[in-house]
């Protein structure tokens, strides 16, 4: 997993609440057996005017010029600014994969759905929670200022605006540790093999019907 330390990036404002994972990456693209290549299909139904299927040359499709992501001033955005309950719906990890593959490294919203939030950390995508008022202010500034960039510093847990205004954010110590160091969870858990085996030994005695072998 790629490390996350600091990031200064262009902000893409997606001004809607309850953006679900079906909208982030539509079902037809979940047929892939890879983790990569989802970027051209991020927000597919909103981004293109014609229906998309896997295997198409997406650069040849009709784009929806009204969708925010297609506006030239937001090209190359690395930070997605959005509203409450982002990532609701299914457990598909293809949602963070699609955001990352497109180039988004951090999301800022007042709240997230639990599974999406969790999946993001496993892939080096940082979901930042800020107060509604702060998010509202960032929306106003982003829309009013072409080329608006924010700086995210994970170590100090701060988002800084171009004018120097700072917003602190909270993050679990463990998640931060993994993200800063690009750590793989499985490797960490494997350090506790003896404890897992000891638990299984106890469990086999208490609830033997749970073990068929």
């Amino acid at each position: 997993m790629e490390k996350f330390e600091t990031l200064t990036g262009l902000v893409l404002p997606l001004d809607r609440a309850n953006v679900d994972t079906d909208a982030i990456i539509a079902k037809q693209y979940l047929k892939s057996i890879k983790r990569t290549g989802f970027g051209p299909n991020l927000f597919d139904d909103w981004r293109y005017l014609d229906p998309g299927e896997p295997g198409m040359d997406h650069s040849q499709r009709r784009i929806n010029p009204d969708f925010i992501l297609n506006q030239p001033r937001y090209r190359g955005a690395q930070i997605l600014l959005t509203r409450d309950n982002f990532g609701c719906g299914s457990s598909r990890e293809h949602a963070p994969w699609a955001l990352l593959d497109y180039g988004i490294r951090a999301v800022i919203a007042p709240s997230y759905a639990d599974i999406f939030y969790n999946n993001s950390f496993k892939n080096g995508l940082l979901p930042i929670v800020l107060e509604r008022e702060a998010v509202e202010r960032l929306f106003r500034e982003t829309e009013a200022t072409p080329g608006y960039r924010l700086t995210v510093d994970l170590a100090s847990q701060k988002v800084t605006t171009p004018s120097g205004m700072e917003f602190k954010f909270e993050i679990d110590a463990f998640r931060k540790h993994c993200l800063v160091n690009g750590l793989d969870d499985i490797g960490l858990t494997m350090q506790h093999v003896d404890e897992i085996k000891a638990y299984e030994g106890r469990r086999r005695k208490q609830a033997p019907w749970l073990f068929s072998e």
Binding site: I33, N85, E93, D114, D172, D185, I186, T189, R203
Partner: protein, 468 residues
């Protein structure tokens, strides 16, 4: 000492270790696997040279991509076919039991788990699918996980998790005639919203929930995630225990007695404290129909499409306006006037035998309306299909003009060939009415099986209570 909630008990029984940062290493008893969210996990195992921790804890099936029509020629779509073949290969390579497409027991992962007794009370159950909350209906801790966590469970039989908060949703009173588990859970979501359970494990309780059959309880827990809660659960009672007796993967003989004794404690203590409590009265619940693009956008069938201008919150108002535009509906339109194109009875929410019986009762001896282009029934598993055919339900549906299909997820998310065309409107017994969920540009209205059946006959929504 304060009492424990059902969630507290399930959590505590599975803690392998407490980490210093407040997370826990939690042991997973059952891992259900399907073709969509597992290939990258198996690839990860292979790349790292890791083995499966415990082969017998895994059970796989293929459900999202499978055709529901004639399967004798396999899957036509090469991309879908590759994904299904990849699961077959992975299960073969790692020795995992799989109910493949040709197996009589194949079906939707959340239908076959309980049907086989592969998910049991007191277990931790995970699957790379958000509707894993279904299995909480039996006093299990069951929740959906992402693909990285699928890999983590395959390799370690554990997950690193932070405990959620406790929430209880109580529904009290006798279930009114014509009201089903689906109406109850849609009413709950309408009340608390799609993020109402975020960060919480939700226990559904109260006399109404106790009256529900085990199948109905699965419908309720299935949609916990549509209220934002990763896990939904219901205490064990005699119905739960009776349900599992004699199932293929359930314990038998002495082990059965031992298990039943242990399961008696799978309920919240009377003095247990919840972080959040909500209570609904069953008497207030009417048949529900969603009008928008989120499950919380729901009204009773005798209601009208709501008016965004009456919404005070500007973000919510914009969401409503966007939903009305997508759904091509006008505020004030009676729900009963909404004309439909397609009917879908199926999905992990409503494809069990009880659901098919409820729909068949409404349909019997009638014909689908002329404006209905397609009405389909997709049983949740091969065994549900066989049972329904034994009861003659297939004939009732076929004579009415429905199509009788083979089991799978089908048009709940349209990963196979079953989908809505652009602009088509569907009464669906599934769980999500998101934009494009059932096909790009498709418009979904979530309802109970009886309501979907009644809508098929009338061609528009009707109040099933008036059919009695």
């Amino acid at each position: 000492m304060a009492g424990k909630t059902l969630y507290d008990k399930l959590w505590d029984a599975h803690v392998v270790r407490h980490n210093d940062d407040g997370t826990c290493l939690l042991y997973i008893d059952r891992h259900l696997v399907h073709e969509v969210t597992s290939p990258q996990a198996f690839e990860g195992l292979r790349l790292a040279g890791r083995k499966l921790w415990r082969v017998d804890a895994n059970l796989a099936t293929t459900d999202h991509n499978v055709p529901t029509t004639d399967r004798s020629h396999g899957i036509v779509d090469p991309v879908s076919r590759l994904q299904v073949e990849t699961l077959d290969q992975n299960c073969h390579d790692y020795g995992i039991t799989e109910f493949s497409m040709s197996d009589a027991r194949q079906g939707i992962v959340h239908v076959i788990g309980p049907e086989q007794g592969a998910t049991l009370p007191g277990m931790t159950v995970v699957c790379g699918d958000s509707h894993t909350s279904t299995h909480g209906a039996f006093g299990a801790l069951a929740f959906g996980i992402g693909t990285s966590e699928v890999e983590h469970v395959l390799a370690t039989q554990c997950l690193i998790l932070k405990k959620a908060k406790n929430m209880r949703v109580r529904v009290e009173g006798k279930i009114p005639p014509g009201i089903t588990a689906k109406d109850i859970v849609l009413a709950i979501i309408g009340e608390i919203g799609t993020a109402g359970g975020t960060g919480h494990a939700v226990e559904f309780a109260g006399s109404t929930i106790r009256q529900l059959s085990v199948e109905g309880r699965m419908t309720v827990c299935n949609m916990a995630i549509e209220a934002g809660a990763r896990a939904g659960m219901i205490a064990v009672d005699d119905k739960t225990i009776k349900y599992f007796h004699g199932r293929p993967y359930a314990p038998a003989g002495e082990l059965w007695e031992q298990a039943v004794a242990a399961w008696q404690d799978l309920r919240s203590d009377p003095e247990a404290k919840f972080d959040k409590e909500v209570t609904l009265n069953a008497a207030d619940i009417k048949p529900q129909v969603t009008w928008g693009t989120s499950p919380e956008m729901v009204v009773p069938v005798d209601g009208v499409v709501p008016d965004p201008d009456r919404e005070f919150d500007s973000i919510k108002r914009e969401g409503m306006q966007r939903a009305l535009k997508y759904m091509d509906l006008k505020p004030g339109t009676p729900m009963r006037d909404i004309m439909l194109d397609k009917i879908f009875i199926g999905s992990c929410t409503n494809s069990r035998i009880e659901d098919l019986r409820a729909a068949a009762t409404v349909v019997k001896g009638k014909k689908i309306a002329k404006n209905i282009r397609l009405a389909m029934v997709v049983p949740g598993s091969g065994l549900v299909k066989v049972q329904a055919e034994k009861e003659g339900l297939d004939k009732i549906f076929l004579e009415a003009g429905f199509e009788w299909r083979a089991p799978g997820c089908s048009m709940c998310l349209a990963m196979n060939a079953d989908r809505l065309e652009f602009g088509e409107r569907c009464a669906s017994t599934s769980n999500r009415n998101f934009e494009g969920r059932q096909g790009a540009g498709g418009r979904s209205h979530l309802v109970s099986p009886a309501m979907a059946a009644a809508a098929a006959i009338a061609g528009h929504f009707v109040d099933v209570r008036e059919l009695h």
